[in-house]
């Protein structure tokens, strides 16, 4: 009896030790904050819970930055990290935050839209917890998250997610996916409260343009594109044609399907006043048939298996030994966003959105993403916001 108790206690202690050893890095990742330096254009910082009170006190609450222009004009919302394993969108909007000066109109920027997802990981897929971007002053570390919110913040999952309000049946996991829970509701599951907050912001502030930035697999047909519903398709097409002609990169237009509910490019336009756009840049890291999911693959997008598949014409984007590096992905997003603003301003002259100080595709490809990230240690007092 005593021997049995001693043996079981020792086994339980060993398991507890393993749990602590394996769990501590995850706890640290969950509470790791990313500093963002308030750029010359940032005029206010709010919390999404001000628009959706059900988020208050949860890790799904997130910062909303306002860049109010010198002159009135149109208003735009930029969203990054809807999926926190697609960091090119988050980095593009952070470059806006740290560099943009708004001449006309107002920008609202949410860099960590699914904040809970950015503090989650996909351990079974061997995801890294962090990635470092080389800058002129050292390396800046970012959390690498997961597509979906953490089950620590939203639990339990249903057997089937019934979309609100369209009642379309979606996969159970999509109840934690902030690109399936649009337009959301004030008292729904946590991720519906996140999207509801953004909808409320757009309704209250009369946002004209909403841009949701993503990355997509090279083997997925909806990649390297602007997804737009009918109401935005003219501007999307003009932006696509212009960046191809003027900057030399492909970014075709995909129509937003009417029968697939819950996506930002669908519901933002159907349930609010804004013109929605969803930007997809190719991210080889997300493809299934790659080598190990390392930070190197995340940053340079080079993979021998994808190269072999490319030669067999199995990819939906051009792919060579150069891979698909972060600089190209972030640069594409920046140029397309700026071009959407330009086309919107041409079409709606009484609500102009004019921004300067933001690099374009060629600049980022030439000098790197990190060149446009500000050093938090050099920021003035109160100039850094932790995210």
């Amino acid at each position: 009896m005593i021997r049995d108790t001693v043996e079981k206690s020792a086994l339980a202690a060993a398991v507890l030790g393993l749990v602590v050893w394996g769990g501590l890095p995850l706890v640290r990742h969950r509470h790791f904050d990313v500093p963002i330096v308030k750029g010359p254009g940032v005029t206010a910082v709010h919390r999404l819970s001000e628009f959706s009170p059900g988020l208050k006190g949860t890790l799904a609450d997130t910062n909303v930055y306002v860049l109010e222009g010198r002159e009135p004009g149109g208003k735009a919302l930029l969203i990054g990290n809807t999926h926190s394993n697609e960091p090119e969108g988050m980095l593009a909007v952070i470059i806006f935050l740290e560099n943009a000066v708004v001449e006309k109109g107002t920008l609202y920027v949410i860099p960590f839209f699914n904040n809970s997802g950015s503090r989650n990981t996909r351990a079974g897929d061997g995801y890294p917890l962090y990635f470092d971007v080389a800058t002129d002053w050292g390396a800046q570390r970012f959390r690498f998250g997961n597509r979906d919110a953490s089950p620590l913040d939203q639990w339990p999952d249903p057997d089937v997610y019934i979309h609100y309000p369209e009642r379309q049946l979606l996969s159970y996991i999509d109840v934690r996916n902030t690109n399936r829970t649009w337009p959301g509701r004030a008292n729904g599951p946590l991720m519906e409260r996140v999207t509801f907050g953004a909808m409320e912001l757009m309704r209250r502030e009369s946002i004209d343009v909403a841009i949701d930035t993503h990355g997509a697999e090279t083997m997925f047909p909806v990649t390297n594109c602007i997804v737009a519903p009918d109401k935005s398709v003219k501007i999307a097409t003009l932006a696509s044609l212009t960046v191809k002609a003027a900057e030399g990169f492909e970014n075709h237009v995909e129509p937003s399907p009417v029968g697939f509910r819950g996506l930002s490019h669908r519901e933002i336009g159907d349930y609010g006043p804004a013109l929605p756009f969803l930007l997809e840049a190719p991210i080889p890291f997300l493809d299934q048939p790659t080598g190990p999911k390392t930070t190197k693959l995340l940053l340079d997008g080079k993979d021998p298996f994808l190269l072999s598949l490319s030669k067999k014409k199995k990819l939906f984007v051009p792919y060579d030994e150069g891979g698909w590096p972060l600089e190209k992905r972030v640069g594409q997003h920046l140029s397309v966003i700026l071009e959407i603003f330009r086309q919107f301003t041409k079409k709606t002259a009484d609500r102009p959105i004019v921004v300067r100080g933001v690099p374009r595709y060629a600049d980022v490809v030439k000098t790197g993403v990190g060149h446009y990230l500000a050093d938090p240690s050099k920021a003035p007092a109160g100039g850094v916001v932790m995210n």
Partner: protein, 47 residues
């Protein structure tokens, strides 16, 4: 939500009871412990 916590507690007690009663197979003891970990964390609401 309360029902989910009741189910979690029930499964935890079931695994714990089996752990206490098991006398021979160490492999099963280890499995019971591993099964109990997420259930216990959920019950204690440790994040």
């Amino acid at each position: 939500m309360i029902a989910y916590y009741i189910i979690t507690a029930f499964l935890f007690v079931l695994a714990a009871w089996n752990f206490v009663r098991e006398k021979e197979r160490r492999q099963d003891l280890l499995l019971y412990l591993l099964v109990m970990v997420p259930l216990l964390l959920r019950l204690l609401r440790w994040k």
